[in-house]
Amino acid sequence: MQINKLQVEAIKCGSVIDHIPSQIGFKLLSLFRFTETEKRITIGLNLPSQKLGKKDIIKIENTFLSADQINQLAIYSPCATVNYIDQYNLVGKIFPTLPKKIDRILICPNSNCISHNNCITSSFLFIKKLDNNMNLKCQYCEKEFSKNIVLS
């Protein structure tokens, strides 16, 4: 923990996304378009973690993630926690839950899907299968894909 504190400085106010599986942090930055904000962001990659072995962490100043964004985190990092910070104090801790629907951030693997080439954003529904695996169903082309195919 001491090492974490030294490597990723504390923020006064904003959100801390913790317990992101290592190698996923950078992906989240681009997927959630955190790279397009002008807010100050600090990121730690491959930090030691008791829970995960290695983890990534993202701190975004003066930004509180929406409920939608938090739940979308569950797709990539089911163990992630989102901490809200105010005046350097923890004022909220949220555990993402898998949403029913995910808009904008994924790309349909079907190359003939209309969502690739028009002024629209992708939209997927989560479908629970008999074997308890989750599939993602594109709302446009109606094709179902295993989670791994869409996320890769």
Partner: protein
């Protein structure tokens, strides 16, 4: 019966509840017996065919004319602003929706009809085929034909033959019949063109059994509906196609053990998967099935555009 289809977009068979399917079938039967030429008098309907589909287009347009409505549109996507000037589909639909009371769309890309519905400013959109995805009015006419010939949509043994991987008609029909109890499916296809797993899973989730079979003759005595589709040459290499083609051609001699109520359906066009000698058997129903397309399309058009339909 309340008309829940009024002003609804007809994009996917999966969007329709069982009672809505039954409403369309009931209306189709009425229109087949008693044509109602003025139901849509003064309505203007756009027929937007971004790719060629002669049968579906003529069937829709006939249905529109029979209901007394007028039609505008195009049948060649390359010769309109979208193709020539690069206009988006969304803009094209947005403009057309300000001219008409409903839009029929056929487009080569999957999801195009759903996109059109998002930009049609609450003008109802009818999907006349979006790539390999959905063709809901084909499914409605298939259901109407099955109900007409078998007097029921449950407790049926249905064989589907040919391209079960890319064939949207078999996907949609299977999903629609999965809403009914005790149906049983027999799937016959080359290995490369098997029914997708998500359709098989839908059947299992609904407690409906299905089985893969090697050839038509082994199940001919058990089935009520034989739904033939074209094995698409472009989907297989030449050796695979040659093997598949010879294996799945239906000849009249293969029907000798058929049930008396068996009906052979095909979404058409037929190439060579049904030998012409089958046409002269009492089981051949594909041309009557195509003719039923007019009534099913008349029914869905009138239900969507008129609230008090009976």
């Amino acid at each position: 019966m309340r008309n829940s289809l009024y002003k609804k977009n007809i994009i996917s068979i999966n969007d329709l509840q069982r009672n809505e399917l039954e409403l369309v079938l009931k209306k189709s039967a009425i229109l087949k017996k008693q044509p109602a030429p003025n139901l849509l008098k003064n309505k203007i309907i756009a027929s937007c065919f971004f790719e060629a589909s002669t049968r579906t287009r003529l069937s829709f347009e006939t249905a529109v004319y029979r209901l007394g409505a007028s039609i505008i549109g195009f049948s060649d996507g390359n010769n309109i602003s979208l193709g020539k000037k690069g206009e988006t589909l969304a803009d094209t639909i947005s403009v057309i929706s300000s001219y008409v009371d409903a839009i029929i769309i056929r487009h080569p890309q999957e999801g195009s009809a759903r996109l059109a519905a998002e930009f049609s400013n609450n003008i109802p959109v009818f999907n006349a085929g979006d790539g390999s995805n959905q063709h809901p009015t084909q499914t409605l006419l298939d259901l109407f034909t099955i109900q007409e010939t078998q007097n029921r949509l449950n407790d049926l043994n249905i064989a589907m033959v040919g391209d079960l991987k890319y064939g949207r008609t078999v996907h949609s029909l299977t999903q629609a019949l999965a809403k009914y109890k005790k149906n049983k499916f027999f799937f016959i296809s080359p290995d490369a063109l098997k029914m997708p797993n998500y359709i098989n899973d839908t059947l299992l989730e609904n407690g409906i059994s299905w089985i893969r079979c090697q050839n038509i003759e082994e199940i001919i005595s058990e089935i009520d509906i034989l739904y033939m589709t074209r094995v698409q040459k472009e989907r297989l290499d030449s050796t695979e196609y040659a093997n598949a083609k010879s294996k799945f051609i239906l000849h009249s001699k293969m029907l000798k053990n058929a049930r008396s109520n068996l009906k052979i359906l095909h979404p058409l066009p037929r190439i060579d998967e049904i030998d012409h000698d089958v046409d002269y058997t009492p089981y051949a129903w594909y041309f009557k099935q195509a003719a039923n397309g007019i009534y099913a399309r008349q029914a869905i058009l009138s239900l969507v555009l008129i609230e008090n339909h009976f």
